[in-house]
Structure formats: structure tokens, C-alpha cells
Symmetry: C2
Subunit: 249 residues, 2 copies
Amino acid sequence: MTLSHSAAYDLMNRKLTSIFSLSDKEKQAIQSLPIQLTPFRTDQDIVRVGERPSRSFLLAEGFTCVYKLTSEGRRQIVAFHVPGDMPDLHSLHLKVMDTSMATVTPCTIGFIAHEALHDLCGRYPRIAAALWRETLVDASIFREWMTGIGRRESYSRMAHLLCEFFTRLDAVGLTQDHGFTLPITQVELADAIGVSTVHVNRVLQELRADGLIQTVGAQVNIPDWERLKEAADFDPLYLHLRQDAPACL
Amino acid sequence: MTLSHSAAYDLMNRKLTSIFSLSDKEKQAIQSLPIQLTPFRTDQDIVRVGERPSRSFLLAEGFTCVYKLTSEGRRQIVAFHVPGDMPDLHSLHLKVMDTSMATVTPCTIGFIAHEALHDLCGRYPRIAAALWRETLVDASIFREWMTGIGRRESYSRMAHLLCEFFTRLDAVGLTQDHGFTLPITQVELADAIGVSTVHVNRVLQELRADGLIQTVGAQVNIPDWERLKEAADFDPLYLHLRQDAPACL
DNA sequence: CGGATCGTTGAGTTGTATCAAGACGGGTGG
DNA sequence: CCACCCGTCTTGATACAACTCAACGATCCG
């Protein structure tokens, strides 16, 4: 929780300029956004369904998830977010939250007033486009997850989620050479891929037995990226990362 | 296929002004967009995964779907679109298509060049916001479907899809008092809710037996909206329709 | 009338859920 | 510093939702 404001702006600028090259003036406009850094503990709600937030947020440190509950109390996690993401941008134009968002690890969250973002978008159409694009990538990930939940078996879905984490964390420099830290419980993995926790446990064991992953605590190693990718039916196209970025490893 | 250009503009204007009230100048800017109306037959692809389209489209007549295929050839339909929708707006900022889109009935489609839309968005931030919002509503629907596929049983999912169709068609005036025409095969319903066609058939029979729907050909009647809604766990919030719009019936 | 598409039905199979219980591990308080 | 506790992970046994395969009926249309 020792993150500085300038580091947060760096994250945001790096993200937004990863596709659109912004001018110095546009970058300065971003740097001068008022941003309110706030620490969160694990398993805290950041926004809840039904609320009408007046600010969005940048995830500066930690992992968060977006989830919905059915009337029977079952939870579906529809997205995870990693440092550098702005999970809540849709609240800029959709008044009422249709999901809740929560931390899954301790986090540092930078809140930015909608007013400031609207103002920025009005003055700099290219920044508006970059933010819009962020929300479109989120939507693309929803489509991919839906395809997995609807049409792939759980083994493949689990492998797919691990591929996605590795790729997204790699894009923000949070991987080691063939591995990454995944501080997410099996309960959360279950809610994300739409199976029971018992089954997540068994699928993970299968993946380990098949030599597709190795785990030590929260550390996940991928000894053979190509084989995991194949098991997962993973094609990183849907993440819409910049073209020059290596599809990792 | 006798739709006029002015009718297509009307659709677009009605949609975009349903939330944001646009000025006359903004409306005129929309009217003067070059739009190319094209007829499509059933089961034709409009855009395919991997393509880099240079135009988006307005669905003027008919129903379309957005789908993905797994490497094993299984199909997941991740969205349906109804007249008035602009299903392809995300291609404005995501260069490569990560899904394919196809007609499920005969359709009239109005193509609009990206260039013209980018120009419009640059000059009229409120129109940009309205288009952005369209894509956010799509994303919200993805989240709701994912929750259904992951955490609701098939009976409930089928009911939910019917509720959604009724509500969305009602919003564009395409319902009769307690019913609507659903020209979608059981194969397509199966690919949308992530089950087999055999199972779709059985679930529909259950819904009929329970008195939640009545069907005559492609016509679906809903004798008791409240009961269907309850079976579906349906809350129209996620559609983000304008507040004054009645939650139908 | 034949062919194609779509809907329906039955029988056997399988992936995944549920329930229940035990093992592990890290933190807290006595 | 140990005992306890709670959350997490693991394992086994049983149950069920949904799948697959296969065949048959109903339309529609050229």
C-alpha cells in the first residue's frame, strides 16, 4: 500500500497509450486528473449492484472481481481485473450498477470523479476513444468467457482462465519467466468458471497430473505454454492487446 | 425489404435519443450520415471473426446473432440483436473481429462507414457518448447471460431469454399485447443458452406444461408475465432501458 | 412427390453437483 | 507457546441435470 500518485498515473497512461498514441497535451490532461488513492482489504465490496456511483476507479494494486448473484444466492464472477485496469468505466454512461465489484486481495484503488472524466472526454476525443476501447475489451472478454462456460468443458475452461491470467499479467509486467502469482481461492475460481469448488479442486489436480501446471501455494508455473494453450483452446486475439506485444513466452 | 432510408434514420435517432436528448443539430448530423441499406437472407454471415471491417451496421429489419466457435466446432451464440440495434459498434475501436455475426432471419442492414462515425463522434461528443452507451448495454447483457449460463439451470435460462426478448421487442414496438413473434429455431436457442437442441425441446415443453408460455408456430404468448419473470429470475435492470419505460405489460 | 429443415421422443451415458467428513495451515487469544 | 479456530483444500460416495445417439413425425416448398 505504498503506491504513489505518480505511479498510478503512469499505469493509466501506459494503458491508454498502449494502442492510441496520445499527445503530450493529452498525457498532461490525464496527469492532472484528481485521483483519490484508497486502500482496501480482501473481500470488500467496492461498488454494489443498484448503486449510482459518481466516480469510476483505476485498480492500482491487487486483484478485483465483478460478480452477480442469482435470486437463489449463487454467485457468478463475470470478470477479474488486474493492476492497470479500470473496471468501472461503464458507470460513466450506465447510471445504475448492474453488478457488484469486490476485492479478492488487498488492493489500492484510485477513484476518479465521473465529472472529471466526462470533462476530459469532451475536450479530448482521443482519450474518450481510448477509454471507450477499454470497455470494449472488457466486453470481448465477456464473450470469450461465455463461450467457455456454454460450450467448453470445465478442464478446458480452467486452463483457459490460467492462460488469460498469464497473458494479462504479462502485459503489465507481473509475471516471472514461466509463472505468476495467482492469489485467488478455489471458491472464486469456481464462481468464475461456473462449477462447484469440489470440481475446481479435481480439475486442478488433473491439470497438475497432466503436467500442464505446477503450483506452490499461490504460485502457478506453466512448464509448457503451447500444451496449456491447446488444452485451453486459447487464442489471445480476444484480449486485443497491441499487435507488437508477444503472445508471451 | 421495402424499408426506406428515412425509416432507418428514424430507428437510429429513436434509439440514440431514448436516453440522451440530442439537439436538432445533432439529429441532423445523424440524418446526413451516408447509410447503405442491404438485404440479407437467412443464415448469412455479415462479418466474420478475424476480419477488419471498415464499417459498422444498423439492423433495420430482422434478427441477427453474434457467435463464436470453439476449436471443436461447437457454437456459442453470445447475443441476439433486434431491429434498431447497432451490433457492430465495437469494431470502431477494436480493429480485428473476435466474433462473427450472422442473420437468423431475412434482414435489412444499413452499413455506415467507420470514417463517417469517427468524424461524427469527434464533432459531437454527445453522440459519441450515446454510441458508447449502446456498446455498454451490450456488455451488460453479456454479463447477465454469463450469470445464467454459469449459475442458473436450463429451465430458468430459457425463461430468461424469452423475458429478455419480450422486453427488448416491446421497447421497439414489436410485440402484440401478451406475445411476440420469435423466428428463431431451437438449434439457435440451444446455442444461445448453452445446452443441446434436444434439451431445448424438452425445456420448452416443460414451460408450456407449466403454463408459462403458449406457442403457435413462431408466435410466443405469455399468459402470466409475473410467473414467467419469477421462473426466469428476470430483472430488467440490466437492459438499462429508460426509466419511464414500463417494465412491460 | 421427394427432399430438406425443423421439431419430437426414447434409452443409455456422463459430467458435474451435492453432501459429508477429514486434513492442512495460518492467525489469535489465553 | 500452545490450543484452538476458521477458512481453505482435499477426498469419497451418491444423485441428477443434461448429453449423445438414433430414429421418427411434421411441415414446407420446388
